[in-house]
């Protein structure tokens, strides 16, 4: 029963993320408008030309929604890649080397875990001005610590296994052992960590651009919401149904998609976790 439930989540999540990828790739085919160009009157209602109306200078909101997928997926991909790469270098590698390096790295992880994420992102993001590079780097850095903790404890148990002892006994260096034996052994955890952090990255980016942090000219769902809520009267007309709701739903579905994949993968990859899940449901 747990099986079907997990794979059901996987299918829903996979479908959602698949749709996002399609939207991102085929964005120019889905809408004729440029999301940054003024293509109509300000604050138009939805019409055949502008499916979700226009915003204040007259940019097409549907185009912003479609092209916003690219921003979200890019942040998801970059943020998660950075987080996992960082986690491997401060969690897995030192654990393989052992000794002082491991002790020092463990301290770094504890320190990074204690850093308050969103406040730090707000500080750096707002002071970095209109650049998104610093933000994505920070999102990756924040994600390195929790993933490093999980990967490190798994590495420590892997290290005790016979085949790794043998490989080291034959003179395999830490990088060789990492590539040949540890990464495949950690594979499932890396995949789950990647997917989870991809979802969190999307939520973080949306929250930050919603607050007005980052590149003000960028096309992203959070930025669309940010502009919409600048309108004092947004809730008093039907404007919110095509300006606030679609962008908000897009963020929700994107985050849900990645979360579902993560939760769905966990039992298939981690039998121990599957048992607790079974027991808990």
């Amino acid at each position: 029963m747990s099986r079907t439930k997990a794979s059901g989540l996987l299918i829903i999540g996979g479908t959602l993320v698949g749709l996002l990828v399609i939207m991102a790739v085929f964005a120019p085919l889905l809408t004729a408008h440029d999301p940054t160009a003024i293509s109509g009157q300000a604050l138009e209602s939805p019409s055949a030309d502008h499916w979700m109306g226009t915003d204040i200078p007259g940019r097409d909101i549907f185009a912003q929604l479609v092209y916003g997928t690219r921003a979200s997926l890019a942040v998801a991909l970059l943020g998660a890649s950075l987080a996992i790469t960082g986690a491997i270098s401060i969690g897995v590698l030192p654990a393989l080397i052992g000794g002082r390096a491991d002790a020092a790295a463990a301290r770094v992880v504890v320190f990074l875990l204690a850093l308050p994420g969103l406040p730090l992102l707000i500080l750096i993001g707002s002071l970095a001005g209109g650049s998104n590079v610093a933000l994505i780097l920070m999102i990756g850095l924040i994600g390195a610590a929790p993933n490093a903790r999980i990967l490190r404890s798994q590495t420590l148990t892997l290290r005790q296994r016979g085949y790794i002892t043998v490989a080291r006994g034959f003179g395999g260096g830490p990088i060789y052992v990492l590539r040949r034996h540890v990464v495949p052994g950690l594979g499932p955890l890396i995949v789950v960590g990647f997917v989870n952090w991809a979802g969190i990255s999307i939520a973080l980016e949306a929250g930050l651009s919603f607050l007005g942090i980052g590149d003000p000219t960028a096309v992203s769902w959070g930025r669309t919401l940010n502009r919409a809520l600048e309108q004092q009267s947004i809730y008093f007309s039907d404007m919110w149904t095509w300006w606030v709701l679609p962008a908000g739903l897009a963020i929700t579905l994107a985050v849900l998609g990645f979360t579902f994949i993560g939760v769905g993968l966990e039992p298939t990859f981690n039998p121990r976790w599957a048992r607790t899940w079974l027991r808990a449901t």
Partner: protein
């Protein structure tokens, strides 16, 4: 514990260094043509640099910064020219009210629902609670907040649309003011509560479920104890342990959620202040708010750690 002190020291250094490492400096924003404090000429720029002390060498600046911080001086807001400390003090009670209400509500709701759900695992009520709370947890706060605003503030017109109190409400009687503040508090607190309650619920439920087959419960049942006693005094009591430290951890988490929610509801707390100062590029205020928020998050995490060790002696070993 040392790690937390180290983290706080590091946050202070970050707060000092980040603005100085960024391309351009605060003076650029201050003298930019678009700013309200636009000034002409290099002389005025130099005098501003001297005024803010950023023409001196970095170590000396840091020493000065630490001395100021020690005196509780966070500098002056660029936007209002008022001391940042005063502005923070003015906003803090609103945030504490919002966070406090949500945390109490979320813990109460999460605990009760979790105990009930775990005890009656697999029943309809359990499934409904599980799916509903899991789904609602993934809802971004701004979407949930906007929907609640549309329904309760616009369509039904039961609750106010924004702010922490009605403007010029000082003429109200004491009781009227309490009702007014409560009405403004309700929706933002609800959004914050929903996100928090899910975590408490899941942990409490998992704790209850893992208690279900425990020996002491079996013994209690064999002794003929009442269901209520078994549920609350036996199972829930043991399952409560991790929830205590979760609640302290959530205090850290709730601060971040608060920033987004206050923006949606234009609530006059710290989150609203952070949003306003981002828009006004009011760096000293952003930095002051960052320091306050960051240090409280770290302190709450430390508290969670300490509580957990006190309550569960096994982890101390």
């Amino acid at each position: 514990m040392g790690a937390y002190v180290g983290t706080i020291l590091c946050l202070i250094v970050i707060n000092f260094l980040v603005p100085r490492l960024m391309p351009g400096d605060p003076i650029d924003a201050l003298v930019a043509q678009s700013s309200e404090t636009f000034m002409f000429g290099d002389d005025s720029r130099a005098s501003l640099e001297a005024y803010y002390g950023i023409d001196r060498p970095l170590p000396q600046q840091f020493g000065h910064y630490l001395v100021q911080l020690g005196r509780g001086d966070l500098g002056r807001s660029i936007a209002t020219n008022a001391p940042v400390r005063d502005e923070l003090a003015r906003r803090l009670p609103w945030t504490l009210l919002l966070i406090g209400t949500s945390l109490v509500l979320a813990t109460a709701v999460g605990l009760l629902a979790g105990v009930h759900s775990g005890w009656r695992r697999g029943r309809t009520m359990d499934r409904i609670l599980l799916v509903a709370l899991l789904a609602v947890r993934e809802f971004p706060p701004f979407l949930l907040g906007s929907l609640l605003l549309v329904v309760f503030a616009v369509k039904l017109d039961w609750l106010p649309l924004f702010g922490g109190e009605t403007p010029f409400s000082s003429s109200y009687s004491f009781f009227e003011r309490i009702v007014d503040v409560g009405q403004h508090l309700l929706l933002p607190a609800l959004v914050l509560t929903v996100g928090l309650a899910a975590g408490t619920f899941l942990l409490m439920r998992a704790g209850m479920v893992s208690e279900l087959g425990a020996d002491h419960l079996l013994l209690g049942r064999a002794k003929g104890l009442r269901e209520r006693t078994l549920k609350y005094r036996y199972a829930a009591r043991n399952a409560l342990l991790p929830v205590v430290s979760l609640t302290a951890l959530q205090l850290g988490f709730v601060v971040t959620g608060d920033v987004l929610i206050e923006r949606v509801f234009a609530y006059p707390g710290l989150g609203g202040l952070i949003f306003d100062s981002i828009r006004a590029r009011d760096y000293p205020t952003i930095q002051g708010a960052f320091l306050l928020v960051a240090i409280s998050v770290v302190s709450f995490n430390a508290l969670a750690d300490v509580l957990y060790r006190r309550l569960d002696p096994r982890t101390a070993a």
